[in-house]
Every structure is written in C-alpha cells, then in structure tokens.
C-alpha cells in the first residue's frame, strides 16, 4: 500500500494537468464583467461570433459563449431560461412564445441583419440561370415527383435533379417552406438535409445537376464552386439574383429575410448582457459587411437602441 501511495504521489500527471490550466490571464482591468450565454440559429452564428469576439476585445473580463443548435433548439433553451440571448433565422412561433410565458421568460426581439436565401446548383450547370417561384414550388412541394431537370421545363436537358435543403430544425427550413411551398414545414422527403449550411454547399458543389438552398454568406464564400440561380417572383420584376444591393433593398424576393436576436429581459439587468446587446446594435453596421450578411438601415438600429433604453431604463 505504501508503495502504491508513493507511486501515486510521484505521478505528476494530475498536478501537471491542473497546473497547466491555472494561468488564464486576467486582462487589463476595466470594461464589463459577467457572462453572456448565446445559442440558436447556425445562420446567425457567424454574426454572433463576430460580435462576441469584438465585444470581448473591448471588455476583456467579460465572458461570451456562442452555440448553434438551430433556431428551434435555441428557443427551447431560451424559453427554459437557460440562455441569455437566442439567435433566430425566423420569428419566434406562437407555441415557443407560449413556452416562454409558461416559464415566466420575458424577452425583447431585435432585427439584426438581412439574409437572402440563395438557390444554387453545381458549377457546371449551364442550362438554368433563373427559376420562377412556381417552378421552385413544383420542385420542392411535398407531393412533387420531379426527379429530372426536363420535368421542370422541357427546354432543360434530361439530367437527374437531386435536392439539398436545410434541416428541419433550422429556421431556414421553416422560412423556405413557408414562402416557396406556401405551407410552413411542408416538404418532400427525398431531399438531402443538413442543419449545417456548409455541408449543403459541399453536397451541391460535388453533385452535377444538384439544386440546393442556403444562407447568402455561404454562397459568397464558395462562388467558384457554385452556379447561383436567380429567382423570378412573378410580380413583374423579372429574374433577380441575390447580391449585396438586391438583398439590402429587398428586391430579391421572396427569399430575402430578416435575422433576429432575442434577449431575455431579466438577463438585461446584468451589465454584461445589456452591454452586449448595446454593443451589437451600435456596431452592427460596421461589423456585418465582413460576415456576408447585410446591415439594416441605421435608423432601425437606432430605434432598437431607443427601445432598449425605454424598456429597461438607463
């Protein structure tokens, strides 16, 4: 036994392990302290991480964490009171709002940016530049039987058409099915789905004849591997491609959508959470262009800031 103990004491592993992580540097004093817990949409994650990074540079003693379990998963935790801020690529649903109310979680909703859901195909797809909204609906409808391009339009070649779409836990799925299929969450089942936009890009880019949709930021960073497809909303405006201008001016319809941030009202009493939301609204215009999403008009951020002050005091 004594031998056993001696060898354990001689074993530096545990001491080494604990010693190695004791040296977290405190950073210069000043700025806000406290923890901000963020979860929600993976589309908004890119924005949230940019804000979190800059906020912590400005406030070295604050601690911000960002997870991305999807809009639905995020609200589940938010309405249980587990997180301070929930990112969402669609509005909170009536049922989720009820859940929040049941648990006594009050919240403030802020629009934070514009995104254009981008429809794209493989790089070598050269027969299609534009699809009308009714063509998209015929392709993606729950009872659709379209599996070849010439079923969409006889002028397209007789090539297989394989679909890649947002996973059912994502707000992108909810939004796309609502505006394209007309019924929220109605969709065909023979679609490759993923909650990760990046996996969808990989699927579409690696499959000739594919058709998929994902956030504009993901198209922007993979332009050389994809063919973007313009959308004709059949409202007289003709075919419109998603780009900086058409998304900012909301003429890329109907797939331009706002992205949201929800803040727990009780959490806003904590200086770090309040400071983070203020930081976000004050710096969105400056930080968003680097993320591939589009800033709202300056007045909208200002009115959100005013609302924050009005609702929670100075």
């Amino acid at each position: 036994m004594r031998d056993l103990l001696r060898s354990l004491r001689a074993t530096p592993l545990i001491a080494l392990i604990f010693g190695a992580c004791a040296g977290g540097e405190a950073g210069p004093p000043g700025g806000l302290t406290g923890t901000v817990t963020i979860d929600g949409s993976s589309t908004v994650q890119i924005i949230a991480e940019a804000f979190a990074e800059e906020f912590q540079i400005a406030n070295p003693r604050s601690r911000v964490t960002v997870s991305a379990t999807g809009t639905g998963g995020g609200f589940e935790q938010f309405c249980a009171g587990d997180t301070d801020i929930s990112d969402a690529s669609r509005r909170i649903t009536a049922e989720e709002a009820r859940q929040c109310a049941t648990n006594g979680v009050e919240y403030l909703e802020f629009e934070i940016a514009w995104d254009g859901i981008t429809v794209a195909s493989h790089r070598d797809t050269d027969w299609v530049e534009c699809l009308t909204l009714s063509q998209l609906r015929r392709i993606w409808a729950a009872q659709s039987t379209i599996t070849r391009w010439n079923q969409v339009d006889p002028s397209f070649p007789d090539e297989p058409l394989r679909l890649y779409g947002a996973g059912t836990d994502s707000g992108t799925f909810d939004y796309f099915t609502e505006v394209v299929n007309g019924v929220r969450r109605a969709a065909r089942t023979d679609v490759q789905r993923s909650e990760s936009d990046n996996e969808l890009v990989g699927g579409v880019a690696g499959d000739p004849g594919s058709l998929g949709y994902f956030g504009y930021a993901y198209y922007l960073r993979n332009q050389d591997r994809l063919t973007v497809i313009a959308v004709d909303a059949e409202d007289g405006a003709g075919c419109i491609e998603p780009n900086r201008r058409t998304i900012r001016e909301r003429v890329y319809r109907p797939l331009t959508r706002p992205l949201y941030v929800y803040a727990n009202r009780a959490s806003l009493d904590e200086p770090a959470v309040r400071g983070y939301v203020e930081f976000m609204l004050a710096n969105a215009a400056a930080l968003l262009p680097g993320t591939g999403y589009h800033a709202l008009d300056a007045e909208q951020y200002q009115s959100s800031l005013d609302r924050l002050v009005r609702e929670t005091g100075d």
């Binding site: 036994m1 031998d3 056993l4 060898s7 074993t11 592993l13 545990i14 392990i17 604990f18 190695a20 992580c21 977290g24 923890t35 817990t37 993976s42 994650q45 890119i46 949230a48 991480e49 940019a50 979190a52 990074e53 912590q56 601690r63 911000v64 964490t65 960002v66 997870s67 991305a68 587990d82 990760s196 936009d197 990046n198 996996e199 890009v201 930021a217 993901y218 960073r221 993979n222 680097g290 993320t291």
Partner: protein
Amino acid sequence: MMGARAARRIRKRRRSGLAFGAVAGIATAFGLLTLALLIGAVVIEGAAAFDLQFLRSFTSRFPERAGVRAGLAGTIWVSAITAASAFPVGVAAAIWLEEYAPDTWWSRLVQTNIQNLAGVPSIVYGVLGLALFVRAMGAGRSVLAGGLTLGLLVLPIIVISSREALRAVPDSLREAAYALGATHGQVVFRQVVPAAFPGILTGTILALARAAGEAAPLILVGAVGFIAFTPTGLGDPFTVLPLQIFDWVRNPQPEYRQLAAAASLVLLIVLFVLNATAILLRNRWELRR
C-alpha cells in the same frame, strides 16, 4: 523413415501456414497504412498553421488569428475531472468484483451489466449526463458536468481492464501471503493491487485517451462552439478539442479546414502524450518491483 505422402502433407501444411501468415501480415500492414495516411494527411494539411501562437490564441473569425487555447485547456480540464472521478470508483469496483464479491447470481448480473455498459454508444451517456449532472445535480452546462459524463462513459472500461489486471496476478502470490499469516485486506492491498497496478494504470490511461476524443456526449451536456476564455473553476463553460475541430470544419471559409487539421494534430499529440505516460508509468512500476 518418412513416406513420400507424409512429406507432401507436411509441405502442404507448411504452405498453408505461410499463406495464413501472409494474410495476417497484410491485415496488419493495412491498419498501419491507414494510420500512416491519416497522420500524414493531418500533418501535411495542418503543419503550416501549427505554431506557438496557434496554441496560445482563442478562436476568431479571422483564420490567421484563431487558435486552440480554449479547446486544449477544456480537454485538459475535462480529462482531469474524468480521471479523478472514474479512476477511484472504477478501480474500487474492480477490486470488489475480483477479490471480495461472492459468486452469486447478483454479482454475475453486475458483471454482465458492466460488460454491456462498455458497449453503449457514447451519445447515450450524453443524454444521461444531461439529465443527471446538468439538470438533477444542478451542475449546469459546466466543465464539471462534462468531466463527470465522460467519467461515466469510461467507468466500465476502467472496471473491465482493472479486473483483467487483477486476474492476471498469479494465485501463488495470494497463497504465499496467506501462508505467512496475512489477512484478506493485507493480501489484497499489499500484494495483489501493487502487482496489478501497471495494468490498471495502462487501462485507465487508454480509457482517458478515448474520452479525450469524444465530442458527441459533450455537445449534449453543453460544451459550446465559440468561447474565448478558459475555465477557472468547476462551474465554468468550456469547449474541447474535438468540438473545436467540428466547429471549424463547418465554417464556410476554406482556411478553417487547415486550422481543423492543425487542431487534429494537437489532439493527436495529446493522445500520444497520454499513451506515452501509460507506457512510462508501467515500465517504472515494473522496474521498481
């Protein structure tokens, strides 16, 4: 005198023996080649991004600024908590089962269950950890909950490997001790356990190496994707290397794939260090006896 038929038969047997040896050798080479390819690919892709700054920085939206500090610290914290919780319990359980438990239907049931638990998918332990540590125990989404969850995950492995080590101690040692008048407790703790200790340590550290590579159960107990600080206490939020890799691979910017490879390299080094520690400790212990 050996007949011609017998000689033929021997030649035939020798040939089939050689053929089997060749097949086994090819199988080994296949495993080694896969490992070499994997390590080679990770090193080639990740080496460029791997430097001191990479180890010291937190993740960032600018790939040239991003690093694995949070993931590395989180992995070390979680592994330490896993070891501190699973090692004493696992070894004690193994000692009881091997040296004390009577051979009843009850102890056989316990043994069978432990064998089965070792085969349960890790995500199931994540669900258990979420219910037990995060919610019921109130540990929240903390490094403590993560470490205890992985502790549960590796507990059956530690029990099984420790039992193997205890069983490998020759009975002559026990009998000699009894013959000298030692009590049961003295036999167990002065003779059997020290003799089995190298094997117990090896099994434990290999189990820890497995825990260090896990991501799925930790996602469930709340390890986060983006975090720019290291834990300073048991209640702090955390991330681990496998999750950091997962998060980077999902990033649309291709530069992050290189960072993911470099982080895989860090994880490989952590695992090699753990395995090397196991070997060193075992050799040291065996020399001393």
